[in-house]
């Protein structure tokens, strides 16, 4: 049996892309809870933040050493000419040019270049970048508007360059852990090669699917859309190639990961988890009018428009009130659209927007039926929290939600974007109090059995230790890590 003790404090650099700690939401909550649980590990947070949103929204936990927040729009703007030698410039251009083709990027070469040279934004104006861009254009899309293509390609190069500029600022750590496979995954890949340290990727959402949905909301020319999808593909392919482990929250993520070049042997599923001691059912009786609640940020991917339409149909048969709990500032245009639909359907008195709240528990306790109308989800924390509070659920059949709800008797799944089915299931639950109670009870039990924060933290810790060891399974005993043999341990032993 190989036994090893971690001689120094284990240091993990968590790479977050537009989430923890500068934005709220499921992913940020997940990261915060994980760090809280793994209190014996030191974390550095490297956060790629949206412009002007670099302020931390979370209290700094004691085991977080540094929070490096970088704004991608604020990297090198020098107008001095680039001093890269021609051959290196051509190599770099070819390397990054793979993004135009949707191929993975050669991070080994990239890391070597980043180590030796400071690549300024002026490099984008180099002959080499022009040659690569024109070469790709003539080979693949010579009939499209060149100007449009050129600026898209420039945008892609620029974004990758922003990423490279950030790599220098990623702190040195024992393990790199990116919360997403996209931009964070790319930076993590280069950091891994640069520092020779292991790198893991958590996948709480499906990056490609989310980007595609996001893109469809904007009026972007087709050429640009196509290229942005290719860039995303490149980032994912690169991240999957260089990462040591891919950690999705649900088995439903695996097929698209494999499609983008991930190796099956690298995948470890670690489901989301919540604090079951905190999210407990409210045993006191609610008022006479039942409440249906949706807890999610008010953004298109969460599907609140479908929920509002379903509410209208429910009210045709049953008297109930409705609440939408979640940040309304993420996408003001979508929030306006929801408000307009509520006005149009005459539901102003029936549906209430709560906005962001620190006290979610209070709202779970006010609710009788939990609804999740999302167009896409991984393993949503809100669903787990609602289940932990003993709520029956009506959710769309997407991502990991299907795995939790199907055949478990904790609620119903309905097709996404289908207000009729959704309203039918909500009405069914509203009408049958006994069924609600029964489903809620089963939901609570399921959470305690499979989806606690402890389960999740242990799963992630295992991945850290696995990549630090020789690849053999790792077990933890009394704060020490063991590898190479099957030793049954108890979670509490290392936790306390």
């Amino acid at each position: 049996m190989t036994q090893f003790r971690l001689e120094n404090q284990l240091k993990v650099c968590m790479i977050s892309e537009g989430s923890y700690p500068v934005c709220r939401g499921g992913l940020s909550e997940w990261a915060h809870e994980l760090i809280k649980q793994l209190k014996f590990i030191e974390f550095d947070i490297f956060c790629i933040a949206p412009p002007q949103r670099t302020k931390s929204l979370y209290d700094k936990l004691p085991n977080i050493k540094n929070i490096v927040t970088v704004d991608v729009s604020n990297t090198d703007r020098s107008r001095k000419s680039s001093t890269l030698p021609k051959s290196i410039s051509a190599e770099l251009s070819d390397c990054l040019g793979d993004a135009l083709y949707g191929r993975h990027i050669n991070c080994e070469r990239l890391a070597e270049i980043v180590k030796e040279y400071h690549i300024k934004k002026t490099w984008l104006r180099s002959r080499e970048v022009w040659n690569t861009t024109v070469g790709f254009y003539q080979e693949n899309c010579p009939d499209q508007s060149f100007r449009e293509f050129f600026w898209t390609a420039q945008g892609i190069y620029s974004m990758l360059l922003d990423g490279l500029a950030l790599v220098d600022r990623v702190p040195v750590a024992d393990v790199y852990h990116s919360l997403t496979a996209g931009f964070g995954g790319l930076i993590g890949s280069v950091a891994k090669v640069l520092h020779g340290k292991p790198f893991i990727i958590s996948e709480l959402g499906q990056y490609m699917r989310e980007r595609t949905i996001e893109l469809s909301r904007y009026k972007i020319p087709e050429t640009a859309q196509h290229q942005i999808i290719r860039l995303t593909e490149t980032m994912l392919r690169t991240a999957y190639k260089y990462t040591d482990l891919i950690v999705p929250v649900s088995g439903s993520y695996i097929p698209p990961e494999l499609e983008l070049g991930a190796e099956r042997r690298k995948i470890r599923i670690v489901s989301n988890g919540i604090d079951a001691q905190r999210f407990v059912p409210d045993l006191s009786s609610n008022g006479t009018c039942p409440v249906v609640g949706c807890v999610a940020r008010v953004v298109p991917i969460k599907g609140q428009l479908t929920f509002i339409k379903a509410c209208k149909k429910v009210l045709e048969n049953y008297k109930a009130s409705f609440v939408i709990v979640g940040d309304i500032q993420d996408d003001p245009a979508y929030y306006k659209q929801c408000k307009a639909l509520i006005d149009e359907l005459g539901l102003t008195e029936d549906i209430k927007f709560v906005g962001y709240t620190d006290n979610l528990l209070e709202w779970y306790h006010k609710v009788d039926v939990f609804v999740l109308p999302s167009l896409w989800e991984g393993i949503p924390l809100a669903l787990l929290e609602a289940m932990s509070c003993g709520l029956p659920c009506v959710c769309t059949a997407v991502g990991g939600v299907r795995d939790i709800i199907s055949d478990s008797g904790v609620g119903y799944i309905v097709p996404p974007d289908d207000p009729d089915s959704m309203s039918a299931r909500i009405t069914q639950l509203l009408k049958d109090k006994a069924l609600r109670k029964e489903m809620g009870k089963r939901a609570r039990e399921l959470i305690k059995e499979k989806y606690t924060i402890e389960h999740m933290a242990e799963g992630i810790l295992r991945t850290y230790l696995e990549v630090l060891s020789d690849g053999s399974p790792v077990y933890i005993f009394n704060g020490e890590a063991y590898s190479g043999a099957l030793i049954s341990t108890h979670w509490a032993l290392w936790r306390y």
């Binding site: 934004k121 104006r125 022009w130 024109v134 254009y137 010579p142 508007s145 060149f146 050129f150």
Partner: protein, 462 residues
Amino acid sequence: MGAPSTDLKLFIERLTTTVSKVILSDSALFIVPSLATTLASGLLFWLLRDYAASELNAMAVVIMSAVVLSMVGTATFQFLIYKKVGEVNLSEKPITEEKGINTLLSLGIVTSVVFSMLVSGIAYPYFKYVLNYSLLQFVFFGVLLILYSVTWVLTASFWASGKYKYPAFVFAFSYVAVFVLSYSVHQIDPTYTLCGYVAGIAILVTLLTLESQRVFGITLKCSKLLEATATMPKLISTEYWGILFQVFFIIALLLDKVIVWISEGERAGSGLQILGPYTTGAFLGLVPTLGIVALARFTEKVKPLSKDMYTGTLNDIRRRITEYNSLYRKGLVTMLAVGLVLLAVAAVFAAYQPRDTRVLTIVLTVGFGAILFEVILYNSFVLPIFGKSHISTMSVLIVCLCGILTVPFISNDIWFASLGFLFGSFVGFMISQLWTTRLLLNFDYNAFRAFQMMRQTTKSVV
């Protein structure tokens, strides 16, 4: 041996066709104002040659000081108006609907008047104590300074909008009036010759103003002008290379003459000595610059190309680029050919009329310099496409510097002033031409590179 001569014949035929097209085109009218000014002034001074030399020189000093100072003083507005009106003209929007243009033009006129009054105030002691001129002569200078300043501002707006006919007609008519009035007044009382001159220029300004009012709509509303003034620092900060080019261009063109006037004036004890072989030779030497008509023709021809230069596929863009390059080459060759022919004419004239070999030497030196100098101007219309306006500015600055470097040698021989101009023009020409050729060779890459730079600069400013 047959082939080269056939090629040469073909080349000459083609050149002759192009040159005749240029001369017969609307853009040929671009040079009428310069031609009218030169002819009328030349003829006037020639007819008045029997008048007392010091008095005639004083008259020339008053006129030339007003011309030089007004040109330099209004360079900024000349450029800004040229640029802004040119942009509107290229977009093919109706100029009258572009409110910014009339405000800019009005501000240009007001600033010119204020500037002229200020300069006059500053120049008064020089006129009184150094040149020993009378108050009347100083008043003529002040009025002419105002009138010329307004003239340059208004003319820039007409030229930028491609309206060559009206200024051509007005200049021709007014300078005939200048000539007739000055000569007539001189016959009555030579002291008041300048009165006739001023009256003629006043006609010019009045006619230009009336037409500007109709075409651009001049406004004198205080609030509008203040609003426009507030935007000037930003406008100037983004266009500083172009403005500097305009300033140095005018200085470079006149510097050798001014240096000689001062130097000869000191020698003669008259402060400024304008009339003399150098002035005759130097102005005759500038005749080849009339070849600049090819530039007007070139800008007119590339206008439709420039408008849609970067739309469509890369092949479309490259096709337009090839056409642009061909027009550029044709324009350049035509300009050089016209310049050389005009130089030959000027040289022949200089050889027969003043019968002074010194004048002929100066004509040839300045003439060759002028041909090279006009290439710098020609290229200054191409280089901004690539974000390289500073190359043109540097090129004309070199001409200025070479002019200044000749100062110590002028006392030995005034010819050195023209040599400085020729040398400076040659160096400036080399820089400008090498850059332009290099950039045109990779037009697409260099143009998109310039876009990138502009975008980055705009982002940084934001």
